[in-house]
Each structure stands twice: as structure tokens, then as C-alpha cells.
């Protein structure tokens, strides 16, 4: 495992441990903590980094469905992002991941291979930026 992938795993595990305790806190009325995840589609995660370079912090990452809508987040200090994802009826292959940051242009997007028909496992997508 490369150091980058090790860091990514650590980040994802840490995020996974943090989310349940936080997500139990909050909501509306007497039923505020009731969330039904049965209809959740896969989340999207990965690095934004410079081509052959380090992760890029505070880069904008967009998960878009053409002409329909988008989810937008930013990378953390390591260049890692995580987007919660769309509903299960959305085909992950239709979701376009892009990244942006002032002073950079997007170079390429690399999607890790997934098993055909897998609609639950998080989708790992790396996005590469190059300096203008």
C-alpha cells in the first residue's frame, strides 16, 4: 500500500467512526434521529491532488448529474474529500466528479474500477489538478 493510500484509508476509517456519533445528534421534533438509509446510493470519496504531486487542500469537488443538480464539497487539509451521495436510483456511472481550485485547471479524473452492479460500496474517484 502506498503512503497516499494508507493515509486515505486512515482518513476514511476515522470519518466512518466519527459519523455515527454525530449523526445521532440532531433533527426535528421527537423523531429527529430517525434516518432511513435504505435508499442511500453510494458515497464518493478520494483525493484531489496535483499531477504527480501532493494532495490539494480546500479544492472544490462537485458530484453532478448533468442538467439535474449537484453536490459540492471541499477537500480537507490532506486533499481528501467525501461526498455523501445520491439516492440509490441514481446510477453512479452517471455521476460526474470534477474538481477545481484557483490557480489550477483540472487535468484528469480517475475512477477506481468497481464490480458491475455494485450500487452500495463507496465510489473512489481521484481528481488531478495542474498549475496554470
Amino acid at each position: 500500500m502506498t503512503p497516499d493510500r494508507l493515509w486515505l484509508c486512515v482518513a476514511i476509517v476515522a470519518a466512518s467512526l466519527a459519523v455515527p456519533s454525530l449523526s445521532r445528534a440532531g433533527g426535528v421534533g421527537f423523531t429527529d434521529d430517525e434516518v432511513n438509509n435504505a435508499d442511500d446510493g453510494p458515497s464518493y470519496f478520494g483525493f484531489v491532488r496535483e499531477v504527480d504531486g501532493p494532495g490539494v487542500a480546500d479544492a472544490k469537488v462537485t458530484a453532478a448529474l448533468k442538467d439535474q443538480g449537484a453536490l459540492v464539497t471541499r477537500t480537507d487539509i490532506m486533499g481528501v474529500y467525501k461526498i455523501p451521495g445520491f439516492g440509490k436510483e441514481i446510477n453512479p456511472d452517471d455521476v460526474i466528479i470534477s474538481c477545481a481550485k484557483d490557480g489550477y485547471t483540472q487535468d484528469s479524473v480517475v475512477r477506481r474500477p468497481r464490480e458491475a452492479g455494485d450500487t452500495k460500496d463507496p465510489v473512489e474517484v481521484e481528481c488531478y489538478l495542474k498549475r496554470k
Binding site: 449523526s23 433533527g27 423523531t31 429527529d32 434516518v35 435504505a38 446510493g41 480546500d58 459540492v72 471541499r74
Partner: protein, 544 residues
């Protein structure tokens, strides 16, 4: 020439001195107690007999207080104080004449500390996990925690009470309960869990609370440099929700439980009600969001009356835009309206709480369009479009109050972009867009203030200084300072996001603040808000 100048200066000084004498019915004094001696941070309030106006100042580090010149006219004034742990021993009243009056106020330890605690202080005092306490942030919408903690009901007896409260409309106050027509889904298991917790913090197990009552410190330093004016409204049932001033300095407010738009004359305290036609006689009445459009006319979200209303400031008449029958039912609820940029495309934004959706009104046809900004997101998650702002192209920015998102609807394409806040489950509530394209908002459930830059699409967040504050709304003033208030702490927060420096101004009585507004035409700026449960309007003037 030199002698002429001296004479002129002397004449000017004489005139100024005369003017001071002419309007001076100034009240000054000291506050002390046997336990502390001179006391800083005691709120001293004076209300003239027969007047709806109460003026409050705060004692300084030497225990001295001073009402500004010209604020109090000659007459008989009732006095009250606010200092946690103390009651007013005396004097209870003072007669002001033509000159300066100096009094010595004495405080004695209170025999009922629980009656003085804010919701924030109850939150801090109560044992239990954050998860246990989390549902209580909803209780403040209708009443203070004192009602809960003084109850002697055990969990079994609390259960039907909670179930019954779930049948009340959200625009309910203790002074006016309103029933929902459409039943709300409430899960018994969650209610039982809450009832069980409440029975551990009330008086069901004994005559006193099984935990120590924690209090916040009194105001100090800069937090004492303030004058607060309360305007008592003519009926206890008036529930001012959103308050704002117009270009002439008049104060306007939405009434959360009665179908009136209110106007207050801040000079006299006189109140005028403008009745809003009732569209659905069987449904709860009252309005929530009060916004001004670019022409200075006011718009109201009609809640369960289903629609929005425009108030023409020249003719003082309403034009109603009811939700069309195809979209209307007993649960239909418009809590928000955003008319700021309607001249761009003839469209006004609103929301449909019952469908967790955005609505857009076409002013030409009077028809609403339903837009589900969360249609691509997983089902089974709660959402609630709430606080709204529109940019110069009438693109909508909204807060997802039930979850953790800021959303954007493109005015031309209708496409939604969702931006999760950095803090999960933040429940962003009300918002404003400043002239630099910064969307300021409160993260109600996260105890944070937030900023979303619509140009860079990036967030910043700041913790509020006191935990369990649950900020409801926020306003960025002309000096770059943020003002915020809420339903928990009886305090107004002034926060400089550049330095992180903050001041919390304690208010003279229990105060349930919703929308906050800052009048930038004064120097220093003037803060306005309603006391939703107290039938009063508040003006807070910082002295620096």
C-alpha cells in the same frame, strides 16, 4: 475679532447647558448587595406608569448606572432588576422630576433561583448526554424549560402530554395554542424515550432537582455598555416573529399567531395592526417570514394560511397570493418568502414545509411551482428548506433546517446544488446575503455561526461563545460585525468574525428571539428583535 469669537463660544456653551437642563430627567445610581458590595452587570429597568416603554441600563464595574439624558421624562417609574441569584430589595419605584435623581438600589439573595434560569442555564445544569438533551431544542419554540423542570409528572404521565403537544401547530405560544388540521407522524418510541429523560430532570422524584443549578456570569465590561428599550405590545397574544425597520425608522413585525402585520412607532410605543385577510378559517393563523423587496414593500409568508402576501407601503393594503388548490391541503405551510429580486424575472421564492420543498410564485399568473431540491438525494432523510436569500439574478440560496445543507436553486434552469456544511447535523436556520456575496447563517443545532461565500462556494464556521445558545438568526452590520439571537440564552450576541472578539448583552427578561435586524442608519448601529413569547419588541443600542 478675537473677542467676538470668545463671546460666540460663551453663548454656544450657555445654550448647550440650557438645552441639557431642559431635557434632563436623568436617573443615575448605584447597585449593591450585602454579599458583594457594589455590583457590576446588574440590569436596571425603569417603566413609567401607563407607558408601554421600559428602558434598561447596566451597572458598571463600580456598581454605577446611568440612564442617558432625554430617555426618561418626569413621572412615576416602576423599577426592576435582572441579576442572577438576586431580587430587588428596594426601592421598587422612583419619582423623577425636572432634575437629576440619584438612587441606591439594594439587592437581596433570591429565594427562587430556578425562576431566574435561562433555557441555556437549564441545558447546562441538566444531567444527561447530548443525545438525551437534543430533542429539547424543539421545546423552546413554544415555552421555556421552567415548565418542564417544575413538572411533577413521571414518564408515563408525560407521554400523553408530549403526544398532545405534537398535535399543536408550530405557530403556537402559551398565550395562544393552535391545533394542526393535518396529523403529524410521531413515533411512540421516540416520545417514550424523551418522556423518560424529562422525568429524570423534573420534580417527579422529589421536591428539589437532583442536580445543582448552574448559572452564567453577569455581564462585565463592554457587555454593560448598552441601552435596551422594551416596547410592550397591547395584547399578550401578539407573538412578534420577524422585526425590521423601514427607511423612515418605523418598526414592522410579523405576528406568529394572529393574522396581523404590526407597526410600532418607536418614539411613542404606539402599535398599529394591519389585518391580513384569512384565507383558511379552519387553519392556524399567523405569519412568519417578513421581508422587504427592492421597492421597500413588505412580504409575508402566511404559514398555514397557505401562500404569501405583499403589503404595499404606500396604500397600506395587502395583495394575497394563495397557493393554488392543486397544491393546497391541510398541511400546506409557507414559512418563508424571498421577494428581494423579483423584478429580475417576476418570480418570488417561498417554501412548502409539508413537502420539504421550495415553491416559486409567478406574479403574473399567481401560480406556484413546486421544486424539490432534494429529489436526487436518498429518500428517508429529513429536509426542510428554511431561511432564504436571493442574489442579483434571483438565484435562490436556502438553508436545509432539518439537515446540514446550504442549497442553491438556479433561477433559469431550476437545477439544485447542495452544499453540506462542514459540521454534520448543523441544522442551518435563518440567513442573510451581504453586499460581498457572503451568505451569513446560523447553525442552530451546532451552536455555530456560518458563512458561505457564493463566489468561491466555500464555508467558514465559528463557535458561539456560550454553549447551548442555539442561535436562530444572524445579521452582518455595516461595520463587519455579526449580530445574533435565539430562543435559549436571553442574550444578544455581537461577534466580530475578523478578530473572534464577542460581546453577549443580557436582556432584561426571558426573551424568545427569532429574526434579528440591524438598523445601519444609526451610529452605533441599532439592533431590533421581537420577544416571540413576551409580546414585546426590543431595541438594543450598544454605546460603542
Amino acid at each position: 475679532m478675537k473677542s467676538a469669537l470668545v463671546v460666540a463660544a460663551a453663548a454656544l456653551a450657555f445654550c448647550c447647558a440650557e438645552a441639557r437642563v431642559g431635557r434632563a430627567q436623568t436617573l443615575t445610581g448605584t447597585v449593591s448587595s450585602s454579599a458583594e458590595g457594589a455590583m457590576e452587570g446588574v440590569l436596571v429597568s425603569a417603566q413609567k406608569a401607563g407607558s408601554p416603554i421600559t428602558v434598561t441600563v447596566v451597572s458598571d464595574d463600580r456598581g454605577r448606572f446611568h440612564f442617558p439624558d432625554g430617555r426618561l421624562s418626569a413621572g412615576h417609574y416602576a423599577l426592576r432588576i435582572r441579576a442572577i441569584g438576586y431580587d430587588l430589595d428596594g426601592p421598587q419605584a422612583v419619582d423623577l422630576g425636572a432634575g437629576l435623581t440619584d438612587i441606591a438600589i439594594r439587592l437581596r439573595p433570591t429565594a427562587d433561583l430556578a425562576a431566574q434560569l435561562t433555557n441555556t442555564e437549564w441545558f447546562i445544569s441538566m444531567p444527561g448526554t447530548p443525545q438525551d438533551k437534543r430533542p429539547l431544542i424543539e421545546c423552546m419554540s413554544c415555552h421555556t424549560f421552567e415548565r418542564i423542570v417544575r413538572s411533577t409528572y413521571d414518564a408515563d404521565r408525560l407521554f400523553p402530554v408530549l403526544k398532545r403537544m405534537a398535535t399543536y401547530a408550530n405557530n403556537t405560544t402559551a398565550a395562544r395554542v393552535q391545533m394542526r388540521l393535518a396529523e403529524r407522524e410521531v413515533h411512540d418510541e421516540a416520545v417514550r424515550k424523551l418522556a423518560a429523560y424529562l422525568a429524570t430532570v423534573n420534580l417527579s422524584r422529589g421536591p428539589t432537582w437532583p442536580y445543582a443549578l448552574q448559572t452564567l456570569p453577569r455581564p462585565q465590561g463592554r457587555a454593560t455598555h448598552v441601552v435596551i428599550t422594551e416596547y410592550v405590545l397591547p395584547r399578550k397574544t401578539i407573538a412578534p416573529h420577524d422585526v425590521r425597520t423601514d427607511a423612515e425608522g418605523r418598526v414592522w413585525y410579523s405576528n406568529f399567531v394572529e393574522n396581523f402585520l404590526g407597526e410600532l412607532d418607536p418614539k411613542t410605543g404606539a402599535n398599529t395592526d394591519y389585518p391580513i385577510p384569512v384565507l383558511k378559517p379552519q387553519s392556524p393563523t399567523g405569519t412568519l417570514d417578513l421581508e422587504a423587496d427592492a421597492d421597500g414593500n413588505l412580504w409575508l409568508a402566511l404559514m398555514f394560511q397557505a401562500g404569501v402576501a405583499k403589503f404595499d407601503m404606500k396604500t397600506k393594503t395587502f395583495r394575497l397570493y394563495p397557493v393554488q388548490a392543486a397544491l393546497d391541503n391541510d398541511a400546506t405551510q409557507q414559512s418563508m418568502v424571498m421577494p428581494r429580486s423579483w423584478r429580475v424575472d417576476g418570480k418570488v421564492w417561498s417554501n412548502e414545509v409539508a413537502k420539504q420543498s421550495i415553491m416559486r410564485l409567478d406574479l403574473k399568473t399567481g401560480q406556484y411551482e413546486l421544486i424539490d431540491p432534494f429529489k436526487l438525494l436518498p429518500k428517508g432523510h429529513q429536509h426542510s428548506p428554511y431561511g432564504m436569500a436571493a442574489d442579483g439574478e434571483n438565484n435562490l440560496y436556502f438553508m436545509d433546517f432539518a439537515d446540514e445543507n446550504v442549497g442553491r436553486i438556479d433561477a433559469k434552469t431550476g437545477a439544485a446544488t447542495i452544499y453540506p456544511t462542514p459540521t454534520p447535523k448543523s441544522r442551518p436556520r435563518r440567513t442573510m446575503l451581504d453586499g460581498q456575496g457572503r451568505l451569513w447563517f446560523t447553525e442552530f443545532a451546532a451552536d455555530k455561526l456560518g458563512m458561505f461565500d457564493i463566489k468561491t462556494e466555500s464555508f467558514k464556521e465559528w463557535d458561539v461563545p456560550t454553549p447551548h445558545t442555539y442561535p436562530y438568526d444572524i445579521f452582518m452590520d455595516k461595520n463587519g460585525e455579526l449580530w445574533s439571537g435565539g430562543m435559549a440564552s436571553d442574550r444578544v450576541l455581537r461577534f466580530d468574525p475578523r478578530s473572534g472578539r464577542s460581546v453577549e448583552y443580557l436582556l432584561p427578561r426571558p426573551t424568545n428571539i427569532r429574526r434579528v435586524f440591524v438598523d445601519n442608519s444609526t451610529t452605533p448601529v441599532t439592533f431590533w428583535a421581537g420577544n416571540n413569547h413576551g409580546a414585546e419588541i426590543l431595541r438594543l443600542e450598544p454605546l460603542d
